[in-house]
């Protein structure tokens, strides 16, 4: 089996507040294989963006990584000095943020922004970098790239700007791209286009994608595997089709049940009762237990991610799989 490109092991992120440290991520673990698309899905506040930011080393204080490891191609990157981390950003890990309207410097031409990124990571003369910029604009599907090179961001629409953002994230040819809600701020009609641009480009350049979104539909159509996050932890991971068809974790089951389908005519939409707790109010033990229809005594303790076949679920219902694994070794 090929070693994973990115390996996140038991990542803990906390925020220092006046009332003491606030734990935002409680031990997040997952892998991303080279070239694969991992969808990270969950509600607002579940910690998806934080995970992405921690991986690329852009956690703003008072946030900090408080424990665990992040490995890129087998080497630790969570404890690197700032200069080394800067080399990794853009060159080996790229990131796309949510709002294309504010991601680009409004006072700088598009071509210059792409060229400077290329030049920051490869020692190319300016003319070469400019030619590279034109090529990238063409790849993301912007018409007349030679002319648009000199345009400013405000001369583009939202969808076009996000394409430029994608070009910027990929132009130094990273092996992993973190896409943090890349389509949330866009019109619905444009969302599909952007997703397809992202998918085609990453496939063509052999980059893996960590696609963070709260939209399961996008994941279902784009991702190979999915990680479901809840209240600062991972609830379940696995192949996207298997998770959708047969979710393991009660939270995921609730999510899938809540999606209305055309075949069944129901009068009320199914809901998971209650709401996801805020970071500052996460109960001890399993964070989902208060809302879980299958909660039992064991849930008073926080469950680890238990391997069930080649999927994982953080739920005591699968404790037997733990015991089974122990028994086998």
């Amino acid at each position: 089996m090929t070693p994973p490109l990115l390996s996140v092991r038991d990542l803990k992120v906390e925020f220092a507040t006046r009332k003491g440290p606030l734990v935002a991520l409680h031990g997040v673990s997952f892998d991303i294989a080279p070239g694969e698309v991992l969808g990270v899905v969950g509600e607002s506040g579940a910690g998806k963006s934080l995970t992405g930011l921690a991986i690329i080393g852009l956690l703003d204080p008072p946030g900090r990584i408080a424990g665990g490891e992040i490995l890129l191609a087998g080497e630790r990157i969570d404890n690197l000095p700032p200069a080394k981390m800067r080399d990794i950003r853009g060159r080996r890990i790229g990131i796309i943020f949510q709002d294309p309207m504010t991601s680009l410097n409004p006072l700088m031409r598009i071509g210059d922004q792409i060229a400077e990124t290329i030049m920051a990571h490869k020692s190319l003369p300016r003319r070469e970098a400019k030619r590279g910029a034109i090529a990238w604009l063409a790849e993301v599907g912007i018409p007349s790239p030679e002319k648009r090179i000199d345009a400013y961001p405000h001369e583009f629409s939202g969808g076009m700007r996000q394409r430029v953002v994608i070009a910027l994230a990929l132009c130094a040819e990273p092996s992993l791209v973190i896409a943090d809600e890349p389509t949330t701020a866009l019109d619905v009609s444009v969302q599909a286009q952007i997703i397809s641009v992202l998918k085609n480009l990453t496939r063509r350049h052999g980059a893996a994608v960590m696609l963070i979104t709260h939209d399961i539909g996008v994941i279902a159509e784009t991702a190979d595997r999915v990680a479901v996050m809840y209240a600062g932890g991972i609830a379940e991971t696995g192949d996207i089709h298997e998770v959708v068809r047969d979710p393991l974790h009660p939270y995921t089951q609730g999510l899938m049940a809540a999606i209305p389908t055309l075949e069944v005519s129901a009068r009320r939409l199914a809901q998971i009762p209650g709401a996801m707790p805020r970071l500052s109010a996460i109960p001890p033990g399993c964070a989902f237990a208060p809302r879980c229809p299958k909660a039992f005594a064991r849930c008073a303790m926080r469950p680890p991610l238990i391997a069930v076949g080649d999927r994982q679920a953080a739920c005591w219902l699968y404790e037997h799989a733990l015991a089974g694994a122990d028994a086998r070794t």
Binding site: R18, E43, S44, Q191, H214, D215, L255, A275
Partner: protein, 318 residues
Amino acid sequence: MTEIAGGGEGASGPDRRLVARLEESDLLASFLASKITVAAGAVTIVLFLAALFAPWIAPTDPFNPAANYLSDSLDPPSFIAGGDSRFLLGTDDQGRDVLSAILYGLRVSLAIGFCGVALGAAIGIGLGLISGYSGGWIDSIIMRIADVQLTFPAILIALLLDGVAHAALKAESRDESAFAVLVVSIGLSFWVQYARTVRASTMVEKNRDYVLAARLIGLSHARILIAHILPNVMGPVMVIATISLALAIITEATLSFLGVGLPPTEPSLGTLIRIGQNYLFSGEWWIVAFPSLTLAALVLAVNLLGDWLRDALNPRLK
């Protein structure tokens, strides 16, 4: 596309927001956290009290010409050789006790400062409410006037108003009306900031549900403005008021220093400094030094408080 919806937060009621923000901002905690701010607060309170009780704590009444003897003039402070023990900080050219003059001057400076700010706030808040609430051509006119006035610095406007009043009034009544003229000048030069801020907040508030509800019930516009919208726009006004208090004090001191503010018969700190500057070279440094120190301490303290207040009430700095 299917989405997972997160739990939403309930919208808080309009009148509770200011109180909630005050509590959330840990106003008292942040005040006590910074030693400088506490010191500033202490200095401000001391000076305010000194000004308030000046008639009772000042050793002499510097405004009573009969009580001053020219033979006492230009005495150095009591703690220096040659000083008279009656005059702690020395005397000026008229034989007035500098300490008493400072206390009374402080009183007048603060009085004008407060009145000027109050006037400016009243005009500004009033016009801001009207402008934001009515919209249309009333709004345009008021904002146009505000814009034109903003192209000029406040001190210039105050100076001009003061100057015109000076020239318009007969020489005899100039001294008596100095106080009123100064208050009006300062007030008229400072209203714009209040108006703009209040207008912006009003425009936001007037579309809120509670305003619409009040209109449906049939409350008059005036009542809605005063009883409902006004309390909710006061937040930023507080910060502006603190900062403009310092500005008002400086403006009055400057105008007095320039000779177009309070006259020497009823001197403010600025007037005292003006008198004192003439004696700087001949060695009677105390006439200018102590009023200067007082003025500097006052303005510095008020500014620090204003800075703290602004940072404490700014939700974005969390």
